[in-house]
């Protein structure tokens, strides 16, 4: 339908080729080694998988915690997204951008930040014990399912908030106003108007959050402790600690198949939704009544409490020494103090990270946009392709990383030790974000708009430039923001492939935080703060580019 003409189908080959070369080929290669070690299919790992209660338990727990995490994330993000898309207030777009920051931080850093807040001897307990003169610690979250879910919400809140806000902001409010005039109360408005309207974006966000929490690794391992294990944790244990590739392969396959089934159901659900409301005028308006003001304040305070207090705890710990401001850890980062190789100056790591993030974001945008146009088109191909595009998110990073090692080892694809494998593995995780961010808005463009334009003589390229791109610009910006973040945070398989001198910010953090000595530790925290700052700058740039590109719509 879109991108019609002779070039259209050639362009569609790009996302498919990318997936085939850098996802399916490595994945099949490593599964082949694991599941067909002697040339024929060895099902013993599957039999073990099915015959022990243990793995069933792991699977059910994985499903359970992901469902809880997703539900809670959406439940909390929904009202916030509504307020963000309906009201204009100072600092709104900055706040939206900054809400994405938690996403980029390494789990080990986040875990330490949370413990300094809500741990046994954390700030919250200190405060409560002093305030109410208690002689026990009232908040006991360490190594509980609750803290796992809370940190999942911390990480994934922005996905739900931004995707829903981006979509809602481009929707008119005519239906809502009409209903209000007809006497609908707040409850009826949510049930009959708002929820049905936001459904496509809600589902999009749910799919992403579910994927992310289903494959959760560090959060469960570090904050949950040894009592909890997800499939991803088991795959890591089998693949790295035990080098049991048949079992790791069987578990990976189970994870992928489960997610594929879920995504297929989701795709069908998503396609059934017809929600072409049309672009209204700018719907966000200034706050008028005291009630609205308290709404906005409530949301802002909530976001601060959930997302920014852990970040502030991190900043404080990196810059405070015995209660006094001490920037020496930042200064120490500027020099390669030990004169040692690979202990490089952070400025170089920042440059490397930015370079990879720029390449990954561009690749993710190009591939993600083309894929979105392909999916939105009619036909059986699109229906099949949509869930396939999400599979990289459902695939264990270890498995794919080992896949790169065994598959991409010969020219012309001798990439396994080249720096290119880093942006490629980031793109695999990043482009589904672009697709899920863009798709709801793209689907919501009524065909009458483009038909009218065609009647008036618009060529396909004009349609793209004047109708599609402006209407989905928010979605593109959201997708770009996440793609950028995914790459800055080194998501995906890149940590499991061999890297040459390309030391990135997360690698420096892991390195520093693995060394004994408080100075190393505080420098790791300082480096994490630098990561946050660089990301925040990136978000501002992306937002500017969007506004400069299409104008505020």
């Amino acid at each position: 339908m879109r991108l019609r003409g002779s070039y259209g189908y050639v362009v569609y080959l790009l996302p498919l080729t990318f997936l085939a070369l850098f996802y399916f080929y490595p994945l099949l290669a490593i599964l082949d080694i694991g599941l067909r070690p002697d040339g024929w299919l060895d099902l013993s790992a599957f039999l073990r998988l099915l015959s022990t209660d243990y793995y069933l338990g792991v699977f059910l727990f994985t499903l359970y915690q992901a469902t809880l995490s997703t539900a809670l994330t959406l439940f909390l993000a929904l009202p916030c997204a509504y307020v963000f898309s309906r009201y204009r207030f100072a600092g709104k777009s900055l706040l939206l951008s900054l809400a994405t920051l938690p996403f980029v931080l390494p789990t080990v850093v986040v875990a330490l930040a949370f413990m300094s807040l809500v741990g046994r001897r954390g700030l919250v307990n200190d405060l409560l014990m002093t305030l109410f003169s208690l002689d026990y610690t009232p908040v006991q979250l360490e190594r509980t399912l609750a803290i796992v879910i809370i940190v999942h919400v911390f990480y994934n809140f922005a996905i739900a908030l931004r995707i829903m806000t981006g979509y809602w902001s481009a929707q008119g409010i005519a239906a809502e106003e009409a209903a209000r005039v007809l006497g609908a109360d707040e409850w009826a408005l949510w049930r009959d108007i708002r929820l049905p309207l936001i459904q496509p974006a809600l589902l999009s966000a749910a799919a992403l959050v579910f994927m992310f929490t289903f494959t959760s690794f560090g959060v469960v391992l570090i904050l949950g402790g040894i009592r909890f294990a997800t499939l991803e944790v088991q795959i890591y244990y089998q693949a790295i600690s035990l080098f049991n590739l048949p079992m790791a392969g069987a578990l990976s396959l189970l994870q992928i198949v489960a997610m594929f089934a879920l995504m297929t159901a989701y795709t069908h659900l998503q396609r059934g939704l017809q929600s072409a409301i049309g672009a209204g005028k700018a719907v966000a308006r200034p706050v008028k009544s005291p009630r609205e003001r308290s709404l906005v304040w409530g949301v802002v305070i909530f976001i601060f409490a959930l997302l920014f207090t852990p970040l502030l705890a991190l900043v404080a710990r990196s810059a405070l020494n015995n209660g006094a401001l001490d920037m020496s850890n930042y200064a120490a980062l500027a020099e390669s103090s030990r004169g040692s190789l690979l202990f490089i100056a952070p400025i170089e790591a920042v440059a490397n990270s930015l370079r990879f993030a720029l390449i990954s974001t561009s690749m993710a945008l190009i591939i993600g946009m083309i894929a979105s146009f392909m999916i939105v088109g009619r036909g059986g191909l699109a229906r099949l392709v949509d869930p396939l595009l999400m599979l990289p998110l459902a695939t264990s990073a270890v498995t794919l990383g080992f896949g790169f090692i065994v598959a991409l080892d010969e020219p012309p694809l001798n990439l396994r030790a080249s720096w290119l494998i880093i942006p490629i593995s980031h793109t695999l995780v990043a482009f589904p974000f672009v697709v899920r961010s863009v798709l709801p808005s793209l689907r919501a463009i009524p065909s009458s708009v483009r038909e009218a334009a065609q009647v008036l003589g618009a060529r396909p390229f004009d349609l793209l430039r004047t109708i599609d791109l402006p209407l989905v610009s928010r979605g593109i910006a959201v997708g770009a923001t996440f793609a950028f973040t995914v790459s800055m945070g080194e998501f995906g398989a890149s940590l499991f492939v061999a890297q040459r001198e390309s030391v990135t910010i997360p690698v420096v953090i892991y390195r520093l935080i693995g060394d004994p000595g408080l100075a190393s530790y505080r420098q790791a925290l300082a480096m994490s703060v630098i990561l946050l700052l660089v990301c925040a700058l990136g978000f501002v740039m992306i937002e500017r580019l969007r506004v400069a590109g299409v104008g505020e719509f």
Binding site: Y7, V10, L14, V108, A111, L112, M115, S116, G119, R121, L221, I222, G225, I226, Y236, Y237, S241, L242, F243, R317, N321, D326, S328, R338, G339, S340, L341, L342, F343, M363, I366, V398, G401, F402, V406, D409, E410, P411, P412, N414, L415, R416, A417, S418, L420, F461, L495, V497, A498, Q499, R500, E501, R511, G514, P516, G517, L518, A519, S520, Y521
Partner: protein, 350 residues
């Protein structure tokens, strides 16, 4: 517009790798993320041999070993450095090394050399030992534990934090120490010991960082409350060296009594099918040379295997080396790893 970007991207992907062709004036070293060496030392090697050293970081030690096994027919590099005795057997079984006997081995104590076939060469070692918070034991007038068995006594209840052996290298090393000491067949097995540790409120966390910075009570950590942690014999000097007020140290100590630590020896080996085997051998020699051996402690907090090396002052002053660490055969470790960790998990979770 789209088509052009597409073609450009495809070209980029296909052409750029050609730049990374291998030549014999480069030696590629596959190693783990913790690898560090002084630039000046590596430059001296490059100047001396005329070869360029390329460092390929493959993740943690286990990841790196597994990658090298998977790529045995077309190896990632020429020489692998950083495989330790807990993973050695796995690599030897997979036959990823070719034998090489470095002339520098004459300066290395024989006890470090595994077997007689010289498939790998020992480079350095580090001991996983309990670290203690000096202030706690002084202030509370508690005696330091003098054996692993002591840790089950009432006075050490709730004091110890260890790492999960399934995912953490020091965590596994400490479990192995308990297996070496208590065995798995005697009346009181290592599992009985862990049961007692559990009743004595031992805390298990995921990794070294969470234990050392999150739970250990040494100065400067605001959340840690446990004065005993599994770490390395080299941690106390590093804790002083990288402290904000070194003159106040030492803050921590290591318990290095007999059968209280587990020794991790790191090896290097020339990879099968290496493109530059001569360069690989030269690099192994270089890693045993005084220049590299002297450089080890301050870069990676490990000790040189060469006997004739002077330790840096801070290590000479504060690092204690256990005279008799607990030991297990690499082959036993590989053969039993899954069963031991599985049995341990049962005990700790039930």
């Amino acid at each position: 517009m789209f088509t052009r970007s597409v073609l450009a991207l495809l070209l980029l992907v296909l052409i750029v790798p050609a730049v990374f062709s291998q030549e014999n004036d480069t030696v590629v070293v596959v190693t783990h993320d913790s690898f560090a060496a002084s630039e000046i030392v590596l430059e001296a090697f490059e100047a001396h041999t005329g070869m360029t050293v390329e460092i390929l970081r493959g993740g943690d030690a286990g990841t790196m070993v597994n990658q090298s096994i998977l790529s045995v027919n077309n190896p990632l590099g020429d020489v692998l450095y950083g495989i330790d005795n807990t993973f050695l057997s796995r690599a030897l079984d997979a036959e990823i090394f070719v034998a090489y006997q470095s002339p520098e081995l004459q300066f290395v104590d024989e006890s470090f050399v595994p077997g007689v076939d010289h498939l790998v060469t020992p480079i350095d070692y580090g001991d996983v030992c309990l670290n203690y918070d000096i202030a706690y034991f002084e202030d509370n007038e508690v005696d330091l534990p003098s054996s692993l068995a002591d840790l089950t006594l009432a006075e050490y209840k709730g004091l110890l934090v260890v790492q999960n052996p399934a995912t953490s290298s020091p965590g596994l090393a400490f479990l192995l120490a308990t297996i070496a000491v208590f065995g798995d067949e005697e009346d009181y097995t290592f599992l009985d010991y862990w049961r007692d540790l559990r009743s004595n409120d031992v805390l298990v966390v995921d990794g070294w960082t969470e234990a050392y910075y999150g739970e250990f009570s040494a100065p400067g950590r605001d959340t840690g409350a446990r004065p005993l942690v599994v770490s390395y014999a080299s941690s106390p000097p590093a804790e002083v060296l990288f402290s904000e007020n070194p003159e106040d140290g030492p803050f921590t100590g290591a318990l290095v009594g007999d059968d209280m630590c587990f020794r991790q020896v790191e090896y290097a080996g020339v990879l099968v099918n290496a493109r530059n085997p001569e360069g690989a051998r030269q690099f192994v020699d270089f890693m045993l040379s005084p220049a590299f051996q002297e450089d080890l402690p301050l870069n990676m907090f490990v000790f040189p295997v060469r006997e004739d090396i002077l330790l840096p002052d801070i290590f000479a002053e504060l690092a204690e080396i256990p005279a008799q660490p607990a030991a297990l055969e690499p082959a036993d470790i590989e053969a039993n790893r899954e069963d031991w960790i599985g049995a341990w998990s049962e005990v700790m979770l039930r």
